[in-house]
Amino acid sequence: MSKLLLLGDEAIAQAALDAGISGVYAYPGTPSTEVMEYVQKSKQAAEGGVHRQWSANEKTAMEAALGMSYAGKRAIVCMKHVGLNVAADPFMNSAVTGANGGLVYLIADDPSMHSSQDEQDSRFYAKFANIPVFEPSNQQEAYDMTYEAFAFSEKHRIPVMLRVTTRLAHSRAGVERKKALPQNEIKLLENKKQFILLPAIARGLYRELLAKQPKLEKEAETSAYNKYIPGEDKSMGIIVTGIAYNYLMENYVGKKCPYTVLKISQYPVPTELVRRLVSECDTILVAEEGAPVIEESLKGMLDNGPKVKGRLDGTLPRDGELNPNLMAVALGLKDTYGSDVPKIVAPRPPALCTGCPHIDSYALINEAMSQYSPGRVFADIGCYTLGALPPYNAIYTTVDMGASITMAKGASDSGLRPVIAVIGDSTFTHSGMTSLLDCVIENTPITVFILDNMTTGMTGGQKSHALGKIAQICKGFGIPEEHIREITPLKKHHEENMAIVKEELEYEGVSVIIPIRECVQTLKKRLTKK
């Protein structure tokens, strides 16, 4: 078969389809979004009737995939690293129940925080849950490892974490496909207690999970993706994981790396291979894309083992993604550099688009709050987080999905008046609804702006679960209709909208203002399609 030019994310999507999945479940999040988008556009997926709709959030996505696996079919769940925090409950417990149909959790980490709030390394989570990790280093491995992960999951009856980082997710290269497999038939387990985590049952299942660990480690020891490449120079041995392998090899184009290299792409960490490397080499350099997971355990608390270099001793930076230049320095090679960026080059941070409805909403919020001390606007995660930057300087907090409403509640509980929460439509149905319910139960004095741009904007305009439902949801929660105010955020309506905002700010209870106007990006896309 000829090669396809695919993003890492797309290679994963195509591999999952070829491995016979019956469903993809996901909530959009950079850098994981393109997996679902690829499947949604795929003819193969449409013909196979593969489930390919967005979920309300990462937790519901994972639970649905879990159900599909329990029914015997193959499923993949996709999310960014912080999405795994949302899905942590089913994630941890699904390790205990194990899988039936092949189950793969694609987690896309974002070192250097290109589009994220933190750079947590999901390999910690996998270790926490005692599940295996596949960490491809290039697009072909992303395809091959995804393809094989489903069978691996079925063989060991355990979910597999597929861990990629931004650079692989969003980089394109030629990928060769394998034979497309048929989907599984529905097949329920004979043991009807395998998936019931009652304490008495769970204790047994947890022991089963622990008993799987030596087998999983044995798989990693013999995995074709974990490569032991002997070198002549024994003064240093190198452990590289995932995409860091490419940055190492970039420094030896056309020649052989003189050091022995242990490339790790499958976990649990293959300790026999590590032991061999340590016994053969004087010092060990560990290069991991993400946190120093292996490096830390190799050093140990007492650091009285082999001499280990890496992110912890400053040989490589403690944070951020790696690159070929950082590797060159760590290897003691000559670094290369062009010329400095001229001082006149000004920073160009991302900004709200011209005509963006959020601009008009922030104009309202800023004017309304101008008479109060700052620090009263609790925001959330989406394009409107850019309200933090000039010229708006409008918000006080952004922490996690859905947090705006509950943070504003806490501030209101502490006696601060007035307080505002700013949350987008999709973020609201992702995890803001329960926060609002908390406010309704106590009738907390708070004004919640639910910015309804009718899409999931920041990730590129995916369908929002909130579409046309927000006022209805608020009504259902028991918020009085006269305090659910739908407005059109346009300059020409500024004065009338302002009057509404002021009214609601004075109200000692829960009020919701819903500025509704379509995202200019999706509008543009819609109009060009026509």
């Binding site: 090669k3 030019l5 993003l7 950079t30 850098p31 979004t33 393109e34 290109h114 589009s115 650079r167 692989l168 969003h170 980089s171 394109r172 290269a173 030629g174 995409i243 490419n246 940055y247 090899m249 970039e250 184009v253 056309g254 690159n323 070929p324 230049n325 060159a328 670094d335 290369t336 550099y337 062009g338 010329s339 400095d340 960026v341 001229p342 006149i344 080059v345 000004a346 920073p347 160009r348 941070p349 991302p350 900004a351 709200l352 688009c353 394009c383 850019l386 920041m458 990730t459 590129g460």
Partner: protein, 193 residues
């Protein structure tokens, strides 16, 4: 052989359309390719870049090492300068001359031009104007690609073929205008190199 290209611009300017054509032609020629893109929040009017690497051997890194890029191809003048740390001493900078001003502290044109005069190898091309004169303001990226074509180590005919194939679905007029833009850009570069 290898060609490492940093593509630069502002989110929304469509730098990937240039990458698509080069990639298409390179694959047809049987070259290996890696292309690191930027998705997500930075696409909202911020600075964006893409690393495009072509070689006749297996490419290791998705990122071009600093100081080793053969070309910077930019659709915006100030943005072209942002990636000078990546440009090899022998490398060329090819950029559109028309600024995209969406920040309050955008430098004056003269100051940017002064920086360009310091560079040994550059093509500063009025791509927007040239494309407009040829009948399609939207095809400025093809003018810029044309200006980069002498440095790509891909035959010009292969690029022409790629443009024809990629735009084929949009009709013969669109193909012809884009080809004209590509050729005009190349002509400009050959005269001003």
């Amino acid at each position: 052989m290898k060609i490492d290209i940093v593509l630069a611009g502002v989110g929304g300017q469509g730098i990937l359309s240039i990458a698509n054509i080069i990639g298409y032609a390179a694959l047809k020629k049987g070259l290996m390719l890696k292309q690191a893109e930027v998705h997500g929040m930075s696409q909202r009017g911020g600075d964006v870049q893409s690393h495009l690497r072509l070689a006749d051997y297996e490419i290791a890194s998705d990122l071009i090492p600093k100081g080793q890029a053969d070309l910077i191809i930019s659709v915006e003048p100030m943005e072209s300068l942002r990636y000078l740390p990546w440009l090899a001493p022998t490398g060329w900078l090819i950029t559109n001359d028309n600024p995209f001003v969406n920040i309050p502290n955008y430098p004056d044109k003269e100051v940017i031009d002064q920086e360009f005069t310091k560079l040994p190898h550059k093509i500063i091309i009025p791509a927007d104007n040239m494309a407009k004169e040829l009948g399609s303001a939207r095809s400025a990226n093809m003018v810029i690609l044309g200006a980069a074509s002498p440095f790509l180590a891909i035959e010009f005919e292969a690029l022409e073929e790629a443009v024809s194939d990629v735009f084929a679905s949009k009709g013969v007029d669109v193909v012809n205008i884009n080809l004209a833009c590509l050729r005009a850009g190349r002509e400009f570069a050959l005269q001003n190199q």
